[in-house]
């Protein structure tokens, strides 16, 4: 129920940056699903995928794992289950 501690301002700006990159990537993904031979779009997709990886890593190093089942690392103690959850911020 409770939201835990309120994240700092940098949390929101880094999260926004990640959401913006992910928006580009979801758009390109759906577009490429119906336009698989658009080479420029594939190049743009791969560029953004790389940039996305860097920003996600920066976010995780400050605010904890975004993914689990082994797709993100954990600190000690296990920090995946830490608040806040997305609907709490």
């Amino acid at each position: 129920m409770s939201g835990g501690k309120k994240p700092d301002e940098a949390y929101y700006s880094l999260l926004t940056e990640l959401q913006q990159l992910d928006f580009v990537l979801v758009e390109l993904t759906l577009y490429l699903d119906t336009h698989p031979y658009d080479m420029q779009a594939v190049q743009q997709f791969n560029q953004f995928a790389q940039r996305r990886q860097q920003v996600a890593q920066a976010f995780e190093s400050r605010y904890g794992p975004l993914l689990q089942f082994g797709h993100s690392y954990s600190r000690y103690p296990w920090d995946w289950a830490d608040s806040p959850w997305p609907w709490q911020v």
């Binding site: 959401q19 979801v26 759906l30 699903d33 119906t34 797709h71």
Partner: protein
Amino acid sequence: MWIYEKKLQYPVRVSKCDPRMAKYLIEQYGGADGELSAALRYLNQRYTIPDKVIGLLTDIGTEEFAHLEMIATMVYKLTKDATVEQLEAAGLGPHYANHDRALFYNNAAGVPWTAAYIQAKGDPIADLYEDIAAEEKARATYQWLIDQTDDVDLQDSLKFLREREIVHAQRFREAVEMLKADRETKKVF
């Protein structure tokens, strides 16, 4: 399989406690043209659709779960600080009696979600036309919801979702054309 990502697809902010709006928004949570219906419809159709459009159904179906979480976040934020009296005044007395402030998969009129909302005909064109119609209906619902609130923060998130419905409908239309083109070429011997 699926991996959960601990973030929303797009920010959800609300500027006030507003259980009245939460009651309407639940239409897109557990309603016929809502996000749960959308996700389950597309992910279920994948198994019998031609290979060419499986990727699209997988990706759009997955994105729908991100939208479902956004709607849930709206409802949660709009009701979490509401008193029982405020919930009752907004018409959520019957909901409170059954669920307290818990979310539930029902539509704005309180009717529980049912699998009868979604179709799987096994005919690729019929299935994709249903998907296009579903996206257009969801787009219309988002417009009505935007019209029902003056909360600009909430409107911002709803406008994002409205736009996504348009993009999805467009991609499904392209998928229909891909299958039609495929069907034409196969006629040439």
